[in-house]
Amino acid sequence: MDFDDEGSNFELKEIQTLSGHTDRVWSLAWNPATGTDDAQPVIASCSGDKTVRIWERSALTRSWDCKAVLEETHTRTVRSCTWSPSGKLLATASFDATTAIWENVGGDFQCVSTLEGHENEVKSVSWNASESLLATCSRDKTVWIWEVMPGNEFECASVLQGHTQDVKMIKWHPTMDILFSCSYDNTIKVWAEDDTGDWHCIQTIVSGHSSTVWAISFNAGGDKMVTCSDDLTLKVWEADIEGMRSGNNQVLWKHLSTLSGYHDRTIFSVHWSREGIIASGAADDAIRFFVESKDSVVDGPSYRLLLKKEKAHDMDVNVVQWSPGENRVMASASDDGTIKIWELATSSN
């Protein structure tokens, strides 16, 4: 998609503000099975108020309402939440050192399993594409891989050591069973399984970011990823996808581009849309959008700022997530305790 040709005026329209949480909202996730003609969009959000909220947009009024508050389970901040690819299960990671698995049983969300093992705060949780594996990471510096067994049972398959500090986020590759982690130790690690079924680190990106790496996001094709950091930059990386598909674990991710000079405070979240728009959420309360620029004269693509939405929230933006269903619809959440639904629209010239 060539954004240089489209009417060059983009604006971020605020659709609705979702209030309810009584503390900062750390993260949110769109249910991937919703947002189609049959199923109205659903979002899960998690907060410092120790609860998870489920929000659904009404088919009739097109307005978002809070459908459920998942409380009395986590005893501390819920830091991250993510739906399984089928949309049937929700995993929530908490500072109470546990990860809870929730199932929607006839409109009621029940906690069907609790994963214990981390020594302290769990920061992030991610399902692989086939829903056979779950990964979690923690301030205890480890990454855990869990096998999903029948009857909502989870078995620890591996405890991955290697990071020298707090692991902030983990994310499975969109199509392959390769796991990525980013950390307070400024590095990004890539983990894969060898022929004997053992997981180990196949790459550590050390000379990338110069401070904590907060998030990772892949493009639709899975051959590029973008990371964001406390060093105020976004970095884009690429790898030989065909090589990866043929099972070559020696394929390395290489630095493609650095977006610097656009942010003046920590970037907490980054998300790459299906169309190729990179959204970032930062500690200056703003949301920014970047696209590949065709005007680059250097070898390889470069990226340009498409739009900066200042004061998107009243406080730090902790997460930005594109809708899996609707085009150019996005959600963000903030320290101000709210979630906002946005539409990136072009104003016709």
Binding site: R24, T77, R79, E121, Y184, T212, T266, A283, M315, D316
Partner: protein
């Protein structure tokens, strides 16, 4: 917590005559925070001084620098936490606070600064009951 005090014999200064530096009277309260180890305020121990707090009301930003009493002070992160909690109470919630040790004043300056300004680490630390109790004692013991 620790068996002995980190700095058993701190140098104590007389409290300075207060000059209203900024209009917000809350700015002054930060100096009265009690040191985690001694019944003296951070100001009396020269951990904080007038020059160490910069407020930009237009941008809503605060930069505070403090000088731990000794180079290897492991209480530095606790002092930093106390400062953050106090400032959160004194200023509107949208103010952004950056806390640093004054350059050259601590052996692990970069590591301490990084931890003090990692909002996720700060949030988790303040949920730790033992740490929270220590912070509360430093902030409120003077009022007892």
């Amino acid at each position: 917590m620790t068996l002995g005090l980190i700095n058993a014999n701190p140098i104590v200064h007389a409290k300075k005559e207060r000059v209203a530096r900024c209009e917000d009277p809350h700015c002054d309260f930060v100096r009265d925070i009690r040191d985690p180890e001694h019944p003296y305020s951070l100001e009396q121990l020269s951990v904080l001084s007038e020059e160490s707090i910069t407020v930009d009301d237009k941008l809503g930003r605060i930069l505070i620098t403090f000088t731990p009493t000794i180079q290897h002070c492991s209480m530095a992160t606790v002092i930093g936490l106390c400062l953050r909690v106090k400032l959160q109470e004194c200023f509107p919630p949208h103010y952004k606070v950056d806390i640093k040790v004054s350059p050259g004043s601590h052996a692990d300056e970069e590591a301490v600064n990084k931890q003090l300004n990692d909002k996720e680490r700060v949030a988790a630390a303040l949920e730790n009951p033992n740490l929270r109790q220590l912070v509360d004692e430093c902030l409120y013991s003077n009022e007892l």
